[in-house]
Amino acid sequence: MLEIKNIDVYHGDIQAIWDLEVTVQDGEIVALVGANGAGKTTIVETIAGLLKPAEGSIIWDSVCINKLPANKLVDFGISLVPEDKSLFADMSVLENLEMGAFRSASRKQKEKSLEYVYELFPVLKDRAHQRVGTLSGGEQQMVCMGRSLMSKPNLMLLDEPSLGLSPLMVKIIYQALKQANKLGMSILLVEQNVRLALETSNRAYIIENGRCINCGNSSTLLDDEHIKEAYLGKI
């Protein structure tokens, strides 16, 4: 279980996150929704260890992880699928996926994990030896998710997985996401497409200007008047 307790996060002198509390139970899909610049990416990058909170703590399975460097968190089963993908553009699809199993614990199960990723995204098997920089945006998103899955995560942090993708591609990505969740993986999902996020997740947090202004069951939030007005468009 992930527990974020009252964190403040700064970008230089500017405070981006104020006194935030978020929890993700085992096996849950939790969405962080909000407008551009609300601080959603900052939150997941802080959990992933790329940013450090000035105040508060992040607890994962009773261990305080907010002082640990990003590269150590993979061993705790936490994996980030970043918004900018951060792929190794000059490496092949297969090499990128293999890098996902870089840590020795996941290296041992590399072949099995690879099979699982190819099952979720069969197109990656066909493109195994193609340079990642030459793939389409959707295929790159698959590689990025696949790379994350190769580390056998217990918690996947997904930052805007549908950004810039065609509706068909979004469907494929979300199907894979739900399938991975069925096998027990918890997911913290950052999404600007609020309807999609609320329909996919169990619970959601609404983030505005670095603060959580509302949270609850996604189905309840879908009917919330403020959310309808601000994010879904009132009909």
Partner: protein, 290 residues
């Protein structure tokens, strides 16, 4: 005339592989860390001076001293990284370039003074007993030392390529060069990768320095010359291609050696002309990706 051209080309290859090797080290550091080390040539000189001492005081053959020089320069690199570059390497990429330029420029101004204090301003050469000997190939002669130097350069580049492509740590270096954020996400300790890369880069500089001390000579101020040669070769070859850097080094070496016949002391202008032409017409370099 043909004889002279071929003989000059042979000499050019031996100096060219050294240009290539120096460029390989510089481009490894820049490619992975996005840090431009303009004091790189100073470490070439340092490697040469260490080998000079090892021969003078301990009678260690310069070629046998190579592993020792490499280890010492690796340690120097690790210490320098920890003390002055670790902070720069945690910045955004554009800031890394600017800050590393300033820091290493300062270093390149400082080190010649240290070299002068330790080794004096005299011209030093590493001269083992076999330094005058040469081998005959058909009608041409190649010095024993230049031949060994060419072989050593090829072995080093081959070994580096093997390390980067075949080992887990090497792959983590390549991954970090392509996306340091991606590298951190998959569990690579980027800080340690930078430290080791910087160390390897300086070790390569030291190795090149040993052979430069054997083939040419060492003075406290010759470092900048080697930094410039390495920069020319990196621009000529394009980033991130080890064999490309070696080939570009050889092209420059041959062009200069042959150029001497026609242009005398102005032959070193050839490199700068290459530099300008490549930047104007093929900025990604001869072997780089566009």
């Amino acid at each position: 005339m043909l004889n002279l051209l071929v003989q000059s080309s042979i000499n050019g290859i031996s100096i060219g592989t050294l240009y290539g090797l120096v460029a390989v080290g510089l481009s490894l550091i820049f490619g992975v860390m996005k840090v431009l080390n303009v004091a790189y040539g100073e470490f070439v000189v340092l490697g040469g001076y260490i080998s000079f001492w090892l021969l003078t005081f301990f009678h260690i053959d310069p070629f046998l001293s190579i592993p020792l020089v490499a280890i010492l320069l690796f340690i120097v690199g690790s210490i320098l990284y920890k003390t002055i570059l670790a902070n720069v390497s945690s910045m955004q990429e554009d800031l890394r370039l600017k800050n590393s330029l300033l820091i290493t420029f300062g270093l390149s101004l400082m080190t010649p003074q240290i070299f002068t204090a330790v080794w004096t301003a005299d011209v030093r050469s590493i001269t083992p007993a076999y330094s005058g000997t040469s081998l005959a190939i058909f009608d041409y002669r190649i010095g024993f030392i230049p031949l060994l130097s060419i072989i050593t350069c090829l072995i080093i580049v081959f070994a580096l390529q093997l390390f980067l492509n075949k080992t887990y740590f090497g792959k983590s270096v390549v991954a970090t060069s392509q996306s340091w954020k991606g590298a951190r996400i998959v569990g690579i300790n980027v800080d340690r990768t930078y430290l080791i890369t910087f160390g390897i880069g300086l070790a390569i500089a030291g190795i090149a320095g040993v052979m430069i001390g054997l083939i040419q000579s060492l003075t406290p101020v010759v470092g900048m010359h080697w930094t410039l040669k390495a920069l020319i070769v990196v621009v000529l070859a394009g980033m991130g291609n080890l064999w490309g850097a070696l080939i570009a080094g050889i092209i420059l070496g041959i062009a200069e050696a042959v150029g001497v016949i026609y242009m005398g002391q102005y032959a070193s202008v050839i490199g700068l002309v290459f530099f300008l032409l490549i930047l104007m017409f093929r900025p990604q370099g001869l072997f780089g990706k566009s």
